[in-house]
């Protein structure tokens, strides 16, 4: 099924809260076009900007950088890329994609090492890993030339053809933290005393935990509840993935239930821009709250973040930190990353540092 949507926004008076214009173009025209363009009329996919023929032109540029790139493997799946920052086995990656303490680092020569997370930096979402290896090829940072709009950005992988290419859209911007509140998935009633559940939404944490309409919520994480609005406010302070302990009165019985909050479901809660931003691929879970990023237009998958963002010089202008939308990927600039490496090294257990 093809979805075709127009791109205008019909917003509330504030430009900060855009919604979509109701107008939709005839979808058939495009459904037809995308399925049936005869080959002689359209560009061959290998010649698209992210097509193999174009990416291959960058192979020489990333020849050094790919040796400083690693794949971070958890449960046999590549969860992120990483970047070797020192020859004696220090690797940076995207922290939130690598929740485990011990993972596997796969190098360009296919060799695999157990890697231990020695420190995490919340503000940048970087994690520092250590592997037991020497004489690795560390990344070279591009700190001499300022990043400018229109400049190539190449995302190296382990292979000689880079994973993705693009250009710098915005050389430096701050990305404010946008928190998605956790959702319980119930309708509530009652402002005088403990609220009553009136409805349990499908595919919600509430449904999974076995909450039922008619249940009265007496306590949330130990706190007694005075009404519906207090409970809503309280739930919204938690994040998707957090588990809440509810004390429920069901008829004559009192039950204790654990409910895991979900992200806001797409169709009901997300604005149409958020939907459009997911058209074309998944986004990184942590994609906001960065002091400075280089915004570029490379089409990355979330698991292609964490590795180096390379300039035509072959040096890294930064570390890819998020797939943030259909039109945007973010890289943390090198001058923000370099001090974090030193800071995280200090967090490493002293035994580790002294033995290395």
């Amino acid at each position: 099924m093809h979805r075709t949507v127009a791109l205008g926004t019909a917003g509330l008076p504030s430009a900060a809260r855009p919604l979509w214009a109701a107008f939709l173009l005839p979808a058939l025209v495009l459904g037809w076009l995308s399925r049936e363009v005869p080959a002689q009329y359209g560009l061959k996919p290998r010649l698209y900007t992210s097509g193999s023929s174009v990416r291959r032109a960058f192979s020489d540029v990333t020849e050094q950088a790919r040796r400083a790139t690693v794949e971070i493997v958890m449960d046999k799946q590549v969860r992120a890329l990483g970047v070797i920052v020192a020859a004696d086995g220090w690797i940076l990656t995207k922290s939130s994609e690598v929740p485990a303490q011990t993972v596997t680092a796969r190098l360009a020569d296919a060799e695999e090492f157990p890697a231990e997370v020695v420190g995490r930096h919340e503000a940048t979402d970087l994690a520092l890993l250590k592997i037991d290896a020497q004489d690795l090829t560390p990344i070279e940072w591009e700190t001499e030339h300022p990043t400018t709009a229109g400049q190539w950005i190449i995302t190296s992988g382990l292979r000689s053809t880079p994973e993705a290419i693009g250009v710098v859209s915005i050389p430096c911007r701050t990305i404010k933290l946008e928190r998605e509140p956790g959702v319980l998935g119930v309708g509530l009633d009652g402002e005088d005393g403990p609220p009553t559940i009136t409805r349990v939404f499908p595919n919600s944490g509430a449904e999974a935990a076995g909450l039922l309409p008619g249940d009265v919520v007496e306590r949330l994480n130990g706190r007694p509840l005075s009404g519906r609005s207090e409970m809503i406010k309280l739930v919204q302070e938690y994040n998707p993935g957090d588990a809440l302990a509810l004390v429920i009165r069901r008829e004559q019985k009192t039950l204790e239930l654990q409910v895991t909050l979900t992200p806001p479901p797409s169709n009901e809660f997300l604005s149409r821009i958020a939907v459009q931003n997911r058209m074309g691929g998944n986004l990184s879970r942590r994609r906001t709250g960065f002091e400075a990023v280089i915004q570029h237009d490379s089409v990355l998958r979330p698991e292609e973040c964490g590795g180096p963002a390379i300039a035509l010089s072959g040096k890294a202008v930064g570390v890819n930190i998020a797939r943030a939308g259909r039109t945007e990927s973010y890289a943390l600039p090198a001058d923000l990353v370099i001090p974090v490496i030193e800071q995280l090294k200090l967090q490493a257990p002293t035994s580790r540092v002294s033995t290395d």
Partner: protein, 340 residues
């Protein structure tokens, strides 16, 4: 009907094609609407794919030079509660945008330049079939004119051409300039252009530029795939420039195709030719058949038939009542698409 060529000249004059001789003289469009534009672009952009570091360096330098110029004439557009993007294409303030951004003609609206300046404007005409819209800034232009970029001629773009999209994804944001994206033209005809410059909400009405810095299309809509970004080609503006300027809201021919030729007779249209491989042939229409109605509407001339077909979208179904050897019959046909 005026010829396409005169349209092109008219718009070229309006746009006051600027000379961009700065920074190495790579970008230079001559203000001579009759002559070929003497613009130099690196040869790397003309190859099927770039070939080696020298090509990539030349492309990068060119795009870096082009970027501030294409950003300068890209505006945010606020029409009532709708917001989108647009591009100024003349010193006196004509702004191309998408039909679905402006709605109807004669509404007052605002355009926002990248430096944050807001200027009063009004909506002019729109072709809602292809999603072309026009706005004009009503405030007096500064002495040097509004920052603008020229429109490319109607037939200047081909698949494989490199292009730069700008606009305000997510809506105008004073904390960042218009957002540039580099890509290639995947498909283009008179009514739609597909590129792999990724677009998202708020980009609507924003421009797509060629490597000469000319506007070749306006951002319009997307599908799931990141290479499925659709734009309104400038040909659609050139073709109906006077109507757009006059504030007319209309729907042009959709590009739907039946694939027959015929002549008027008292009963309807007698088919003189059925084009091989086209929808009419697939539906079983034969030479000598007489089309009496198209979707229950009487067909008397070939022009009328073309018009009725053009009100339907390519890929949609139509019902034909015909006479074959004098006997009435009904055929269902799935309309095709004119690829030109």
């Amino acid at each position: 009907m005026r010829s396409l060529k005169s349209d092109v000249r008219l718009v070229a004059t309006l746009a006051g094609l600027v000379c961009w001789a700065a920074s190495g003289g790579v970008l230079c469009a001559q203000d001579d609407s009759g002559a070929e534009e003497a613009v130099e672009i690196p040869v790397a952009f003309t190859k099927a794919a770039p070939d080696g570091l020298d090509d990539l360096r030349a492309m990068e330098a060119h795009v870096q030079r082009l970027t501030p110029r294409v950003q300068a004439c890209t505006v945010g557009v606020l029409v009532g509660r709708a917001q989108g993007s647009g591009v100024v294409i003349s010193a006196d303030g004509y702004v191309l945008t998408a039909a679905h951004v402006i709605g109807r003609p004669g509404r007052s609206c605002l355009v926002i330049f990248p430096d944050g300046r807001r200027r009063r404007a009004e909506t002019l005409g729109s072709d809602s079939m292809v999603d072309a819209g026009l706005i004009r800034i009503v405030e007096e232009a500064p002495p040097e004119g509004w920052p603008h970029a020229p429109m490319a001629p109607a037939d200047a773009t081909q698949p494989g051409d490199w292009c730069l999209a700008t606009g305000h994804p997510g809506g105008y944001d004073e904390e960042r300039p218009p957002v540039v994206r580099l890509g290639r033209v995947i498909f283009v005809n008179k009514r739609v252009l597909q590129s792999d410059c990724e677009l998202v909400g708020g980009d609507s009405g924003g421009p797509l530029f060629d490597m000469r810095g000319r506007v070749i299309a306006i951002n319009s809509r997307i599908q799931d795939d990141t290479s499925a970004n659709y734009h309104v080609p400038v040909a659609a503006y050139h073709a109906h420039w006077e109507r757009l300027k006059a504030g007319e809201a209309f729907r042009s021919h959709s590009g739907a195709l039946l694939g027959v030729s015929g002549k008027s007779i008292p009963e309807g249209i007698e088919i003189t030719r059925v084009f091989p491989g086209e929808p009419a042939e697939s539906a079983g229409l034969l030479v000598g058949d007489v089309i009496v109605t198209f979707d229950s509407r009487k067909v008397t001339t070939l022009e009328r038939l073309t018009e009725l077909v053009g009100e339907k979208e390519p890929g949609s179904f139509a019902r034909l009542e015909i006479l074959r050897n004098g006997e009435p019959m009904t055929l269902k046909v799935r309309l095709g698409m004119r690829w030109d």
